[in-house]
């Protein structure tokens, strides 16, 4: 056990001395998060505002209500969408995860004439932009009609639909990707370089056993994957307000992912002997996997045949499991995925251990 600790200590020392490795291991997922976050989270600086105009006389909206709609449009802050006046706006907003709905009630024009009109504002209070939207809405009301003569009051209705942002989806994907790439590339790199430079041969002349070396290497990669996970979580929570549910299953998933891909790395470097080619082979495996297993985009958006491919990719189960556990709060669904990944992880690691030789026969 002492030898495992010594090897572990040396591995961390070497990792943190290799500044480029530290940077790419930890910074690469962060850069992706910032990039994708910038592209998809705030794609539109306008807020979508749904308007339901119930103030209809003889089948036509009253001129007061039409003017109010026009005033909302004129702010240029909203993309105004119209809702069918007959539906229950609150329920519709909840069901369809709409953030902001303005209801102009029946009799608005009449009420306005006696200076006692009300506008209902239905909104999702969990939205960070809610305060901004309320502010804009109030300023529209204050200046309506122009010049201000009469008052319109605002009635608030809050809804809290369970919604997931792109970042909620993206963050677990990044954690899975980071654990995968860190583990497979480090395993490939170390296995092939140590063989090529004869470090394995030197180690074989000491009492260190292969199983001890593997154990220490696996712990090392799991810890590095956890460090990567922490950095990604901190970034996601701090910058994108991702709500993460702490769940031990997500830790188990990341650990087994690391086992799975370090085993795969060892198998690769056994067959592809020189370090450069082994690295390229690892790229050939991980790159398509990132795109096809739903790391970046939901699988539902992909064509049928790609979704079929996704079912045989181990990373798909990691992604699904992490999302279920960390974001959706569905641990029972995550358990199945965790078991699949764990079984594959143990198989890959054992195969890697069995296949890795320190010396040529």
């Amino acid at each position: 056990m002492n030898r495992v600790l010594i090897n572990l200590k040396a591995s961390f020392k070497m990792f943190f001395r290799n500044k480029a490795a530290v940077f790419w291991t930890l910074a690469f997922p962060c850069i992706l998060i910032l990039l994708f976050g910038a592209i998809f989270s705030e794609m539109d600086s306008k807020y979508t505002l749904y308007v339901q105009n119930q103030d209809i006389v003889n089948g036509n909206p009253t001129s007061a209500s039409e003017n109010f709609e026009l005033a909302l449009n004129l702010t240029d802050a909203f993309n105004v969408e119209t809702l069918d006046p007959t539906i229950n706006a609150t329920k519709y907003a909840f069901d369809n995860t709409l953030s902001y709905v303005v209801v102009i009630p029946e009799g608005f024009e009449k009420d306005l004439s006696v200076a006692n009109a009300t506008i209902e504002f239905i909104y999702d209070q969990s939205q960070t932009s809610a305060a901004v939207v309320v502010g804009i809405l109030n300023s529209v009301i204050a200046s309506y009609p122009n010049p201000p003569q009469l008052f319109v009051s605002l009635k608030y209705t809050t809804i809290a639909p369970k919604r997931f942002s792109f970042m909620d989806f993206f963050l677990p994907g990044m954690i899975a990707m980071s654990a995968m790439t860190t583990s497979i590339f480090t395993a490939v790199e170390i296995s092939s370089r140590y063989r090529e430079t004869g470090i394995f041969r030197k180690l074989a002349t000491t009492p260190l056993r292969r199983i001890e070396w593997m154990l220490s290497g696996t712990i090392y990669l799991i810890v590095i994957s956890f460090i990567g996970m922490s950095v990604i979580l901190v970034l996601g929570i701090a910058l994108f307000d991702v709500k993460v549910i702490p769940d031990p299953l997500s830790l188990i998933l990341v650990a087994t992912t690391s086992m799975l891909f370090s085993g795969m790395g060892m198998i690769l470097s056994r067959f592809v002997k020189d370090p450069e080619t082994a690295g390229a082979a690892a790229n050939a495996i991980t790159f398509p996997m990132m795109f096809l297993s739903g790391s970046f985009f939901p699988l539902e958006q992909m064509p049928e045949f790609l979704r079929t491919i996704a079912t045989v990719l181990p990373l798909t189960y990691v992604n699904n499991g992490l999302r279920d556990a960390m974001i959706m709060g569905e641990p029972q669904r995550a358990i199945t995925n965790t078991i699949i990944v764990a079984v594959l992880g143990v198989i890959c690691l054992l195969a890697g251990a069995w296949i890795t030789k320190w010396e040529e026969e």
Partner: protein
């Protein structure tokens, strides 16, 4: 044997290693006494490394037996590994660990509480102790490799081509370290394809060629037995020197082209006899050149190949 077997460090009996159709080691037998520097001399591909790696328990022999410090290589690997130190061929270690950290790491692997600073002093790397391995020159790397082979205070040290690729100065520095090991009473198994190295360091030289042992002995014995004789060359010397030298019972020959007289020596004392005789008869001679026979000649005589040429085979 009178001394019993306690003085034997390594015993190899009819060892064979085959890779498919290729016989890398072809039924070799030898013994190495404790405390000696034993050298395996031969070109690359002669079977040196294969033999050494079998003794280090890294490879399994096809047939034959071998004992290291009385332990059977096919059964007692753990016992052997604890007691030997190894500098592998084309040695390398962790790039970004320092000299000290590398030594600590390997000492830790053996659970050894060796004096790391003492080892650093032994290889004269005190001012580089906190330097990372990758920043060391080739000679310093090899010296660290030798020190790393000593972390478990081994009884037998295997050094596989320890100076391969080093410049002459770095080579001599490594030689000094190896000579220091003998003083500490360690048994050293050295493989090399440099005959000067075997000549300078080894108590016993065993020449191996195409998997077979072709000769064993001290360097002097091998040269006496299998080398050419030593020659004295008298530059720009009168022909008359030839009959005079022949009266001393030596073979001499006049080489008309260069005007030199070449004498085959029987003993080193012959040289002063020749000089005295020539001076007495007032026969003028130019520069004296001694052409000594070396292990290179021994190798050539025994195998019909030159060491360096054979290397490329």
């Amino acid at each position: 044997m009178l001394l019993g077997r306690n003085h034997i460090a390594i015993e190899v009996n009819s060892l064979v290693k085959k890779y498919g159709d290729l016989t890398a080691v072809d039924s070799i037998s030898f013994t190495i006494n404790k405390g000696e520097i034993f050298s395996f001399l031969g070109p690359n591909g002669a079977g040196k490394t294969t033999t050494v790696e079998i003794l280090e328990c890294l490879r399994k022999p096809t047939s034959g037996s071998a004992y290291v410090l009385g332990f059977d290589i096919s059964k007692d690997q753990d016992e052997i590994k604890k007691r030997i130190g190894v500098l592998p061929q084309e040695f390398n270690t962790f790039d970004s660990l320092t000299v000290r950290e590398n030594l600590q790491y390997f000492a830790g692997m053996f659970g050894s509480s060796v004096d790391i600073d003492g080892l650093i002093k032994l290889i004269d790397l005190e001012d580089k102790r906190n330097e990372q391995y990758k920043k060391l020159s080739g000679g310093l790397k090899q010296r660290l490799g030798v020190a790393m082979a000593l972390v478990n205070d081994p009884e037998v040290v295997f050094l596989d081509e320890p100076t391969s690729g080093l410049d002459p100065k770095a080579r001599r520095e490594v030689w000094n370290v190896i000579q220091g090991l003998k003083k500490q009473g360690k048994t050293v198994f050295l493989t090399t394809h440099y005959m000067e190295e075997a000549e300078a360091l080894a108590d016993t030289v065993t020449i191996i060629h195409k998997g077979k042992i072709v000769a064993t002995g001290t360097p002097e014995e091998l040269i006496t037995r299998h080398g050419q004789r030593n020659f004295l060359i008298l530059k720009n010397t009168d022909k008359a020197a030839v009959p005079l030298i022949e009266t001393l019972g030596l073979e001499a020959k006049f080489e008309s082209g260069a005007g030199d007289v070449k004498v085959a020596l029987n003993h080193s004392s012959d040289m002063s006899e020749i000089v005295r005789a020539l001076t007495l008869k007032q026969i003028a001679f130019g520069e004296l050149q001694l052409k000594r026979s070396s292990l290179e000649d021994v190798f050539l005589n025994l195998t019909g190949e030159k060491l360096r040429e054979a290397e490329t085979l």
